[in-house]
């Protein structure tokens, strides 16, 4: 199959690049081995302040609602962290003391939400907390087999949020704030807003253990947008090998398509970091498994780690090497049509931000680079053989 650009990895970086290229009239495919880091997303886009105009446009076309303001946000264990650009699900406060009396509500049998840690943290800020549990027959299903996770609850909440609002109104005494686990708005993203309206107190959603409900929703919205723009999303498939000639990659092989190669003029590597297997390690070395790109790393394995478990771990910052335009570097030479974006860059490009900011900034940078190159080219961009053929059949 022929494309203009093939993107390896369907996380935030790959998806933003795919959407932007489709929007510019390019024909792309995304190959993604499994789900991605958005499933652990806190809802705050690290290292981004206000969204650029093009990001705001991309999000709004995909139905992703964001807001920003420099401030702090509540973390799952009752601490606070500086935050700016965030999904609408997340509240941003000027200071950590955002209320006086707080009602923390959890669901009976749900263990992935840390109400007592939250209470402890808020009390430190001088807020008074009361914890209550709601017992809902609608959640008995999940309780019975002990696998009660955020997403299962969220599926029920899309249907029964009104009942939950009703119960909370009954529980509410003189509290000015209600904290709920972030299990609302999985398929219907209007639910968090409607819940806020239905409860006569400020409603704050606090993070749960993964999967992250707003993250899963964001992932679904991005994918839907990408497919609506005509992109080809190959979910569950793994890029295993690239075929190159004189430093130019002409196709990649994937696990599912075996001998049916994906051909393209440009390739974007967005396979994530160690966590997503964009980088892999053995006891001696960290490598990039598809192209065997260059990675700066100390020879001595002991230097990979910080012995303080909770400290900053050097290995988390390792990433593939790139040139100014984010061309991937192999054996010291920049590959002309292969770009690297997102967390596979590690900390190698601090000027592009970190976390979601790095994913988005690097994706846009590479998209611009690709569009600039095709503009200079006289050649027609590759179109899929079959689609053009069909017209003159």
């Amino acid at each position: 199959m022929k494309f203009d650009t093939v993107i390896m990895g369907g996380g935030l970086a790959g998806m933003v690049a795919g959407i932007a290229l489709q929007q510019a009239g390019k024909n792309t495919a995304i190959v993604s081995m499994g789900q991605n880091a958005l499933h652990f997303f806190s809802g705050t886009f690290e290292s981004l302040q206000a969204p650029s105009e093009r990001l705001a446009e991309l999000f709004s076309a995909a139905g992703i609602r964001v807001h920003y303001r420099k401030g702090v946000r509540l973390m799952p264990l009752g601490t606070f962290k500086e935050a700016a650009l965030s999904l609408d699900d997340i509240d941003l406060f000027p200071t950590p003391k955002f209320g006086r009396r707080v009602l923390i509500v959890n669901f009976l049998g749900y263990h992935d939400f840390f109400s007592s840690f939250l209470a402890e943290g808020l009390e430190k800020q001088g807020m008074e907390c009361r914890i209550r549990f709601l017992s809902l027959p609608e959640l008995d299903n999940a309780k019975a087999h002990g696998e009660m996770r955020s997403v299962q609850i969220a599926r029920s909440m899309d249907r029964i949020w009104e009942k939950v609002a009703q119960e909370i109104r009954l529980l509410l005494k003189d509290e000015d704030t209600v904290i709920l686990p972030q299990v609302f708005g999985l398929l219907d993203d209007t639910v968090p807003g409607r819940l806020r309206q239905a409860i006569p107190a400020r409603v704050v959603f606090a993070g749960t253990m993964p999967p992250s409900v707003p993250g899963v929703r964001t992932q679904m919205q991005l994918r839907r947008r990408y497919e609506l723009l005509g992109g080809t999303f190959l979910m569950g498939d793994q890029a295993i090998r690239a075929h190159e000639h004189d430093g130019v990659v002409h196709s990649i092989a994937t696990h599912n398509l075996d001998a049916h190669y994906l051909e393209a003029r440009n390739f974007i590597l967005a396979t994530g970091g160690l966590y997503s297997k964009g980088l892999v390690s053995n006891p001696f070395k960290i490598t990039e498994p598809i192209l065997d790109l260059d990675i700066d790393q100390p020879q001595d394995r002991n230097e990979w780690y910080n012995p303080t478990f909770a400290g900053e771990q050097p290995y988390m910052g390792y990433g593939v090497k790139t040139d100014e335009q984010l061309h991937a570097i192999k054996d010291g030479v920049a590959m002309q049509n292969v770009y690297a974006i997102g967390s596979i860059l590690g900390n190698t490009r601090p000027e592009l931000g970190s976390g979601a900011g790095l994913a988005i900034n690097s994706a846009f940078a590479v998209v611009d680079q690709i569009l600039r190159c095709t503009q200079n080219d006289n050649e027609e961009p590759a179109t899929p053989v079959i689609l053009s053929e069909a017209k003159n059949l």
Binding site: P210, P211, D258, L387, A390, L393
Partner: protein, 403 residues
């Protein structure tokens, strides 16, 4: 150090990092309170089972084997294979009579075909359904696949000379469904391939791929079928033929379940076994052409069967359908229909089966297409029964649109 580098675990279960991503995508976990879900039934449970088989949980039978957990897992854990392997290894209950009957698709076909009109009439009767429900736990709300009077094999055999005349040849693994229930799909495939200058041959006596046996606790019988099929596929492959199929489940079973679950080595034939949609797409890409009717018009909504998603080949069906002038194409959202072969026929699964399929049925009803396209026969039964919309294999739509 060496150990860590070179050791891999069965079905990759040690790669599990407990991220719970799979639990978000399991259709059964959403609807069945008795099912522990992919993480607990798969990698978590495996650690316990390896210590002591006592920890085997019979609730694993609720797994649809839809593989959605595997498609979602970021760590490459073969979650569904772990679950199915555990069932094969630890479930010592002999299968119920009902499960044996449901599993024996080719045997039942052989028996039923000569009496097709009678069998069809009888299985349609309310009273028969009640009896089946009562005596065999086959849900009475199900409609049964019809049996066809003449098998596809006998139809194609009578045309073998004519087919042999084509310059290029393929072999066709038609499966039980095409042979006994719906020969028209096989005929449609022959029409499309012939239009591409390709003649179609039968294999030297294929057997049921065996998936229904795997699902119903008859792995040993399934392995026998697997061995037989690998042998007859091998004969075709050694004559230089590709083998095409029209069922995504048969294909996944023969390519992946044979080695992973049944430990039958299929390496000699695996790469030659293709969905017909992929074969046709590749021919067109190499320059072959198909001529379509100018007056064809159809609003098609395409449902990717779970096993085709796992194979990663839905893209071929999608592209073929989109290429037909006059087809107004919509891709349905990725959802399981809830049928999963023989699963939905069982009385204890009926409610769950319909609940799983509900989002898909709703989307179809909202779109109101002329036809739903799908490469799986059991999805077809489920969607037709639950929505009333006709379901066609993409191959049949191609055939219908040809000049």
């Amino acid at each position: 150090m060496k150990l860590q580098e070179y050791t891999t675990s069965a079905h990759n279960f040690e790669e599990c990092m407990k991220c719970t991503v799979c639990t978000a995508y399991c259709p059964v976990l959403q609807v069945n309170p008795l099912y522990p879900g992919p993480k607990q039934a798969g990698p978590d449970g495996e650690r316990l089972r390896l210590k002591d088989p006592y920890f085997f949980n019979y609730a694993l039978k609720y797994c649809l084997n839809c593989k959605r957990c595997e498609v979602a897992c970021p760590s490459g854990v073969k979650v569904a294979d772990l679950i199915q392997s555990a069932r094969i290894k630890y479930d010592t209950h002999p299968p119920k009579l009902r499960d044996q009957i449901l599993a024996s698709t080719d045997f039942m076909g052989t028996l039923a075909r000569p009496f097709a009109p009678i069998v069809n009439a009888v299985t349609d009767l309310g009273i028969t359904k009640k009896v089946l429900d009562f005596s065999l736990d086959i849900d009475h709300r199900r409609t049964f696949p019809k049996y066809s009077g003449r098998s596809f094999e006998s139809w194609l055999k009578r045309r073998s000379k004519e087919q042999a005349a084509f310059p290029e040849q393929v072999a066709y693994f038609h499966g039980c469904y095409v042979n006994y229930n719906y020969p028209q799909l096989g005929k449609d495939l022959v029409k499309v391939l012939n239009a591409l200058g390709v003649g179609v041959q039968l294999l030297d006596k294929e057997k049921c791929c065996g998936i229904a046996m795997i699902a119903n606790g008859m792995a040993r019988e399934a392995a026998k079928h697997a061995q037989h099929n690998v042998e007859v596929l091998g004969k075709a492959v050694s004559r230089g033929l590709k083998v095409v199929t029209t069922s995504s489940t048969c294909t996944l079973t023969m390519r992946d379940e044979y080695p992973e679950l049944l430990k039958v080595d299929n390496s000699a034939v695996r790469d030659s076994l293709l969905m017909a949609t992929r074969f046709i797409y590749e021919k067109l890409e190499q320059g072959a052409t198909l001529k379509f009717r100018a007056d064809y018009h159809k609003k098609v909504a395409y449902h990717t069967p779970c096993h085709l998603e796992k194979l990663g080949w839905g893209v071929f069906s999608e592209r073929l359908l989109r290429m037909i002038p006059g087809v107004e194409f919509t891709m349905l959202a990725s959802n399981c229909c809830g049928m999963s072969g023989t699963y939905g026929f069982k009385k204890e699964n009926y409610e769950a089966s319909q609940a799983i399929g509900a989002p898909l049925f709703e989307q179809i009803k909202t779109l109101n297409p002329d036809v739903v396209a799908c490469d799986c026969e059991t999805c077809k039964w489920q969607i037709e029964m639950s929505t009333g919309y006709p379901v066609m294999n993409p191959i049949s739509i191609l055939a219908e649109a040809l000049e």
